[in-house]
Amino acid sequence: MFVLFCPHCGEKREEEEFGYGGEAFIPRPSKPETLDDDAWGDYLFMRKNPKGWHWEMWSHNTGCRKFFVVKRNTATNAIAGSWTLSDGRKAYDAEGGAT
């Protein structure tokens, strides 16, 4: 059990209040009609799935129902922080998009 901070509600709550939304910041192809099948399959199905720090989306299901971004270590469940999508994007880019 871990506790997540919802940046929209400004409250720390137990993980059961939240829904997992998967890897964050997967870029949607801007011109899908130009993609080949491998690139489209990569967008749909391939995931980083790292053992270590992971940028991921969560939604506050039993609260504000809004999505936000969490940086969590998948090997320990340590949490580095939560951000709104736009603030999280800045922090993610500042790291060079690494996980």
């Binding site: 993980e15 059961e16 053992k51 998948t74 090997a75």
Partner: protein, 417 residues
């Protein structure tokens, strides 16, 4: 060469207080190079090495393992074996495995305690029952034994099951596969290790892969915590950690790793002589030969490599089992564990070549890999030996995630993921 086990050897060693047994397999030091290296000494990896040696005549094989033999998911599963899958591709693959299970104890000269006590999949709604009828018909068309039973028949086979109409999720019926059952998970790893070791396979424990040497798009060796091992053919069978290995080779995988928890109760007198699964209340249980209840349910929803899982899943699992078996409400649980399972978008495994020549992956078994152990090793050995897919694993190629030929087995997988 190790001697075969026999009733005579059991009897005579028994007279000597079971002293003087040989070790079941050789503990090996890594050699500088091998024809094939298998990464992962779980059931699937050891089975792969065994069939490579037995069926394809490859002798210079190493199985390397970062921990100890059979200490990963092989030691952390709920031991259920069945082949009642919906789609032809999956049904034929799991049925191939089930047929190998039926002769495995004799083949390995090691008692894997395979017990064909049958597997029930319960239906709790009209839609469940329609899905069950569809799957049973599909099984029968594939030559796989399966029956549809109504609630009264299920009750007569499993008297302790709560089939009251007033239950929150009343049992309306079930699919039943009589040839399904359970096996002793440790014995499967030990039996394959012993049989592979007899063919000269090196089993190297405490040897973690830290890097892959790739030259001109071809694998040439592995960096490990016990030095460099050269090999031009490498089969990765590392279950939950396949993404970690794939990253070393620069390959992206359609895999997410989640903890899957299970529980074992205190031992008690026999009360359950079959396997009961339910997708609706989402739990499953069987009773081991020692008398323990072996219980499992769903995966944790978020990706994790923590090997323990979240506490609220325990509550969910207990609720599901007590819904089915109210009399188990006072049973104490002896232990709990979380294994890391590698789930794919279509709940089907990946047994495939990769874009790196000589590098093969067998992964993505999700929550149901144990049942496939001998079949998985058998077809993967073929793929590695011949550098082409076995007819039974052609559909399980990585290419399906770009061609779109997914095999949607979420309904037959038994556990939602």
């Amino acid at each position: 060469m190790r001697k075969d086990y026999s009733s005579w050897s059991l009897f005579t060693k028994g007279l000597r207080h079971n002293e003087g047994w040989d070790p079941a397999w050789r503990s090996a030091e890594p050699k500088p190079s091998y024809d094939v290296v298998i990464v992962g000494a779980g059931g699937h990896g050891l089975a792969t090495a065994y069939y490579l040696a037995k069926d394809h005549g490859v002798r210079n094989i190493a199985v390397i393992e970062k921990g100890y033999l059979g200490g990963g998911n092989t030691a952390r599963n709920t031991t259920i074996v069945r082949s009642n899958y919906l789609w032809d591709e999956a049904a034929l693959l799991y049925e191939h495995a089930l047929k190998l299970w039926e002769g495995l104890t004799e083949d390995l000269n090691f008692n894997v305690m395979f017990s064909q006590r049958g597997v029930f999949n319960l239906g709790h709604t009209l839609q469940d029952m329609r899905d069950i009828e569809r799957r049973v018909n599909a099984n029968n068309l594939n030559g796989i034994d399966a029956l549809v039973l109504d609630a009264a028949e299920v009750k007569s086979r499993i008297p302790i099951l709560n089939t009251a109409k007033t239950a929150r999720f009343p049992v309306l019926g079930a699919s039943f596969q009589p040839r399904g059952g359970i096996a002793r998970h440790d014995a499967v790893a030990w039996g394959f290790a012993r049989a592979a070791s007899k063919y000269g396979v090196d089993i190297i424990e405490n040897c973690e892969v830290t890097g892959m040497d790739i030259a001109n798009g071809r694998i040439v060796g592995l960096e490990t915590t016990r030095g460099t091992i050269k090999s031009e053919r490498v089969g990765c069978v590392a279950s939950g950690h396949s993404s970690v290995l794939a990253k070393m080779a620069g390959i992206r995988m359609p895999i997410e790793s989640h903890p899957l928890q299970a529980f074992v109760s205190e031992s008690m007198k026999p009360v359950l002589d079959t396997v009961v699964m339910s997708n609706a209340v989402h739990g499953y249980a069987s009773q081991s030969d020692k008398g323990e209840l072996v219980i499992g349910a769903g995966i944790d929803h978020y990706t994790s490599y923590t090997q323990r899982g979240s506490p609220h899943i325990i509550e969910h699992t207990a609720a599901a089992i007590i819904e089915l078996f109210p009399m188990f409400s006072r049973v104490r649980m002896n232990r709990q564990w979380g294994g890391i399972v590698d789930t794919t978008p279509d709940a089907c495994p990946i047994i495939s070549k990769t874009k790196v020549k000589g590098l093969y992956f067998n992964c993505g078994w999700g929550t149901g890999g144990f049942k496939a152990t001998p079949g998985s090793g058998n077809v993967f050995a073929y793929t590695i030996a011949k550098d082409e897919a076995h007819p039974l694993n052609r559909a399980f190629d990585l290419a399906r995630f770009s061609t779109g030929h997914l095999i949607d087995e979420h309904g037959a997988a038994g556990v939602a993921h």
